[in-house]
């Protein structure tokens, strides 16, 4: 099972694209995780109902076995690492953006933490420019 760390922007969509390709190559299913910390009134990374609908449509037409979850009130890194601890999780696919060192110091980097801490392979993709 391939796990996708999805966010409602171009990085999440790039991750989803690559994950779908990977899943059809390997012949396994997909688990799409779109989590939010729930701290703020508005979280732009959290997919709203229309976007969830679109994503599910694409997953359905691709013919792959899929599951889409939107956990609320969890730390994104911890959630993805917990999901990757499952025995059937093979690969984590995330979209990454360039952050310079000062940005990482001030705002943190979810993708850096995931790449360093995840025990299983991580596929870090960038959106097509």
């Amino acid at each position: 099972m391939i796990v996708v760390g999805y966010t409602a922007d171009q990085y999440g969509q790039a991750a989803l694209e690559h994950a779908m390709t990977e899943a059809s190559l390997r012949g396994t299913g997909l688990l799409v995780v779109n989590s939010t910390k729930g701290d703020a009134y508005v979280d732009p990374a959290f997919a709203g109902a229309p976007e969830v609908h679109d994503v599910e449509e694409r997953l359905k037409t691709s013919g792959l076995a899929y599951e889409l979850t939107q956990p609320v009130g969890v730390d994104p890194v911890d959630e993805l690492l917990t999901v990757m601890d499952r025995p059937d999780a093979e690969l984590l696919v995330i979209g990454i953006r360039h952050r310079n060192p000062v940005g990482k110091l001030l705002l943190g980097s979810v993708s850096q933490q995931l790449i360093l801490e995840c025990q299983k392979p991580v596929l870090a993709v960038k959106p097509v420019v």
């Binding site: 939010t36 729930g38 701290d39 703020a40 009134y41 508005v42 979280d43 109902a49 009130g73």
Partner: protein
């Protein structure tokens, strides 16, 4: 009338000085920001900023507070329209139609009509304030202690019994407030009341500590208890603008909304929620496009937004002319008056005319600044909602603690802050309204003083309270207000259904159609 115009012009001269303009800008920026964020309002912000009154001149401080007050009404509509979560309790009705308009892709028009309507209502409201407040204050000076006592009691009863869903809860809140106001050494007899043997409490519990504790700390604890929630979807919008047909449909609701908002703001029980509700119902009835209501009718945004801004102006009328606060922000602003040593009351216009007219002039300036801020920048304000709440409330708690400690530099105040913060949390948990508590704390001591003065003047006879015609009239109104629900119940109708009965009929017709 002409001298008032002269004073107003002098006020404009003062308000237009660079320092005062700076404070006006800061005030409107802060006001819009807190209006946009749900849970934080102008009352809390003014309470947190009370410590600045130690260093800043009175006119600058009041200009800033008034800017925050007006700004809160403007900012609340942005969240209501884009997020379906009202930023302020007065923007609840705007959320009904505004969010539907936004979902239909007309967010820009909704935001524009809200901002321009707020400006129109605010300007007209401030003009009416400039006309009525001096007149009322001249009349109020002639009132004696019995009448003044009657008016203050009426304000207490009105705030408790009319606002809110439960009179019992309002009453509990009011008596809690009166009890807190009782703490201290009695000014007439020198007797220590409820000081628990602590000498630091002999001056009473400072209103700043209570206001900050109940508003800021209570809200912060409540949010901390309900922290992790599903985030709302914000509807993306470009620059607000309106088409010609939107203008044509909006201008009458703006004027009608102002007509509803101003009187209700001036009355003790009014608040801003009731006139917005009435405005909505009126617009629904008078609209040429009634089928659009519920799906995004622009009149449903224009009217209520004008109403809530006009009621903000209306609230300042009794505050400046009588020294009577009719909502939480006015109550906290009155505290600022007292901390400057200015006695609020009917003599305010005579004793401090320049200050008051500078304040009124800066309201006009602030209103204009708010329009300029909100019209192009509304989508930017919506970005403020991305701040994670822990950071926001950490900042609020910092200022709250600082403010409470700065009052008297005594550690007991911090303990009191915590105790009353927990009280604020419990009040939110059990649905007790906060406004009667604050008004009880502020008005309680004053009512007691007026009562004792009246009794002393009347030689200790309770009958002397009923000697003035104004006093008798006000007591009659109070009795009517308290008895009206009982009478209605006897007539087999409750007051809530009076307002809702029309909506039920519409809904049944819709269901049948």
């Amino acid at each position: 009338m002409l001298d008032n115009l002269g004073w107003l012009i002098q006020g404009f001269e003062q308000a237009a000085t660079p320092m005062n303009l700076l404070y006006a800008c800061i005030g409107v920026l802060l006001g819009t920001a807190v209006g946009v964020l749900p849970g934080i309002g102008p009352a809390m912000t003014v309470a947190l900023l009370l410590p600045i009154t130690y260093n800043v001149s009175p006119s600058a401080a009041f200009i800033m507070f008034a800017g925050i007050f007006y700004g809160g009404m403007y900012g609340g509509s942005t969240t209501s329209i884009l997020l379906n979560t009202p930023g302020e309790s007065s923007s609840v009705i705007t959320a009904i139609e505004g969010n539907k308009m936004a979902k239909a892709g007309r967010a820009a028009q909704a935001l524009a009509t809200a901002a321009i309507g707020s400006f129109v209502a605010g300007t007209i409201g401030t003009v009416l304030l400039a006309l009525f407040a001096p007149a009322i204050s001249r009349f109020a000076v002639t009132l004696g202690a019995p009448s003044y006592l009657a008016i203050m009691l009426f304000a207490l009863v009105a705030v408790t019994a009319v606002l809110g869903s439960s009179k019992l809860r309002g009453g509990i809140s009011l008596f809690l407030g009166l009890a807190i106001g009782l703490v201290g050494i009695d000014s007439l007899t020198g007797q220590a009341r409820a000081t628990f043997g602590l000498p630091q409490l002999s001056d009473g519990i400072d209103i700043v500590v209570i206001a900050v504790a109940v508003f800021a700390l209570g809200e912060a604890l409540w949010v901390a208890a309900h922290l992790r929630q599903k985030p709302a979807e914000v509807i993306p919008v470009g620059r607000p603008w309106m088409g010609k047909s939107d203008w044509r449909r909006s201008w009458k609701p703006w004027l009608r909304g102002t007509a509803y908002g101003f009187p209700f703001g001036a009355l003790p029980a009014g608040g801003a929620e009731l006139p917005t509700f009435l405005s909505y119902i009126t617009e629904k009835k008078l609209s040429k496009h009634p089928e659009e209501f519920g799906k995004g009718a622009i009149e449903g945004v224009a009217g209520p937004e004008a109403a809530n801004n006009a009621s903000a102006a209306g609230t300042l009328v009794p505050m400046l002319s009588l020294g009577l606060p009719t909502n939480a922000t006015a109550a906290v602003m009155l505290t600022a008056f007292v901390s400057y040593g200015i006695q609020p009351g009917p003599t305010l216009f005579d004793k401090e005319p320049l200050l008051i007219w500078t304040l009124i002039a800066s309201l006009f300036i602030g209103n204009f600044l708010l329009l300029v801020l909100n019209l192009p920048l509304a989508p930017l304000w919506a970005k403020l909602l991305r701040t994670p709440r822990p950071y926001l409330y950490a900042g609020i708690l910092f200022f709250a603690t600082l403010g409470a400690f700065a009052v008297n530099i005594q550690p007991l105040d911090l303990v009191l802050l915590l105790v009353f913060g927990l009280l604020g949390l419990m009040m939110r948990r059990f649905g007790l309204p906060v406004l009667p508590l604050i008004i009880g704390v502020i008005l309680g001591p004053r009512i007691e003083r007026q009562l004792r003065q009246s009794l002393q003047l009347g030689g200790g006879e309770w009958g002397s309270l009923f000697t003035e015609p104004v006093a008798i009239g006000v007591y009659v109104c109070m009795a009517l207000l308290l008895l009206a629900p009982l009478v209605l119940k006897l007539m087999h109708r409750s007051e809530e259904t009076l307002l809702l009965v029309e909506d039920d009929k519409d809904q049944r017709e819709k269901a049948q159609a």
